[in-house]
């Protein structure tokens, strides 16, 4: 289905009528960073690195007819050797002035800044809070329905998406079938509140985990089935707010990702950010937390009794040690609007790990963001 949808979107975009105006826009982030000695964070180390978060993107869109628009976005990330890939390719059909329907590959609206997380120019950070935003299902292949309307001073936005995803994470591959997401957002001139709920049938495959699950299943099929992420339901819940009085702003988000019937611990993440705008300068502070270190399968293993309980316990502890994360990041950033489409930023992040103290790190980054 995935390939077909993208192919359809691409075909539609090249089949634009000759007179159609094709709009080309682009954006670029040049981000460099360095940590304090012997530390690593977000792929940076003590040697200055430019490729970790830098990216270049081109977007082409055109009207197929009065109601239909095709959009293709090609993005090259430094961390992938600037190999260009189709980030988005979709066709939008405007059903009414309030309702639109899209099909293809698009960004899943999980978070407040999902749609624009790659566009450094559009926000005040060097990068959106990684702990919250770095999930392996930001883009999906499928369909999306969007509704927006005004009620007095309030704008209401509702969205529903359905589709599939596949991505690399934790040394393995995660796939999501039957992914559904609904979101609701209400905003006025200065306040925005949104909430989102999603569910997906997920499968995670990685050499070590697959091997362990095989061994568990041989000893107890029920436990092996519990432990594996094999067509198991994953739930996503998110809520966020944004107060923007223009001269100052305060925003926060909370998300929970859980795969109850699996080895994967529930991940709770949140951030709070605040800043003010003084002319061309936007200084801000951000604090984010990530909690995902709960040991899964302990009760299920105990229920199997001895000797399995004692024999397998070290193994599930080891798996938890490998995947568990529990940390906080505090950062201070400043943005300078150099020109109407060009911003320069610097930030300092202090990462505190609650599980492995040696992983604590301090990172300094600078960024140049450009849109055209």
């Amino acid at each position: 289905m995935k390939k077909t949808l993208i192919a359809a979107a691409l075909t539609a975009s090249v089949a634009l009528p000759a007179h159609a105006e094709i709009r080309i826009n682009g954006f670029a982030n040049l981000v460099g960073g360095v940590t304090s000695s012997d530390e690593t964070l977000y792929g940076y180390d003590e040697n200055f690195n430019f490729s970790q978060e830098s990216l270049f993107a081109l977007q082409a869109s055109g009207s197929i007819n009065e109601k239909m628009t095709a959009t293709v976005q090609i993005l090259a990330r430094g961390e992938n050797d600037y190999d260009p890939e189709f980030q988005w390719a979709y066709v939008t059909y405007r059903m009414t002035n309030n309702t639109s329907f899209s099909a293809g590959r698009f960004r899943l609206p999980l978070f407040k800044y999902s749609d624009s997380l790659d566009i450094g120019y559009s926000h005040h950070w060097v990068a959106v809070p990684q702990g919250v935003y770095d999930v392996p299902f930001n883009n999906i292949d499928g369909f999306r329905l969007d509704y927006a309307d005004y009620m007095g001073d309030w704008e209401i936005k509702l969205g529903a998406s359905v589709g599939t995803f596949e991505n690399e994470v934790g040394g393995g591959v995660i796939t999501g079938d039957n992914t559904y997401l609904v979101s609701a957002e209400i905003s006025n001139d200065w306040l925005n509140v949104r909430t989102v709920y999603g569910t997906s049938t997920t499968t995670f495959s990685e050499t070590q985990i697959d091997g362990l699950v095989g061994q568990f299943s041989a000893l107890s099929p029920a436990f092996g089935d519990f432990y594996a992420i094999n067509e198991d339901t994953a739930n996503f819940f998110g809520a966020g707010f944004n107060i923007d009085r223009y001269s100052w702003f305060l925003a926060g988000e909370f998300t929970r990702i859980e795969i109850p019937d699996s080895f994967s611990s529930t991940d709770d993440t949140a951030y709070l950010t605040a800043g003010f705008r003084a002319g061309k300068w936007t200084p801000s502070l951000t604090y984010s937390v990530f909690e995902g270190d709960e040991l899964k399968g302990s009760d299920e293993l105990a229920a199997l009794g001895e000797p399995l309980n004692s024999a397998l316990r070290p193994i599930i502890n080891a798996v938890n040690d490998r995947f568990a994360e529990n940390y906080q990041v505090a950062s201070a950033a400043i943005r300078y609007d150099y020109a109407a489409n060009f911003a320069i930023k610097v930030d300092v992040s202090k990462y505190t790990d609650d599980l492995v103290e040696e992983d604590d790190a301090t990172l300094v980054r600078f960024a140049i963001n450009y849109v055209f």
Binding site: W88, T92, D115, I119, Y121, R277, D337, A339, A340, A343
Partner: protein, 137 residues
Amino acid sequence: MKRIIGTVLFGALFSSQVFADYAVVVHPENNAEFDTQLVKRIFLGRETAFSNGEIATVITHSPDSALRTEFDEGVLNRKTAAVNAYWSKLVFTGRGVMPTTVESDAEMIELISENKNAIGFIDTSSVTSDVKVVKID
């Protein structure tokens, strides 16, 4: 008093930027209804259609023009850089078409007189019968 001195100093520094009074203009045959809030929403891409159901084509001035600064800060309550950041979000999510920019009032009048669904703004002193002025507060 302090404020007055500040204003005077500011004025002296930017004496080339004469205070401009803007008028929001549409095609003379545009029969839609407007108010300040709607104009603001249209120029921020939060509303895409006029009250008559037609999709608006937004035209603005280049970011370095004094009139643009006046309009963005006076009507949209935002710095021009913030308005551009807002639009870049809409454009790169396929939800909006970046407003066309013009370099002069004459160019704005020309584009609007050619497009029944265009909306823009010009210096009050530049208004001609080729465009219709939309009343806002």
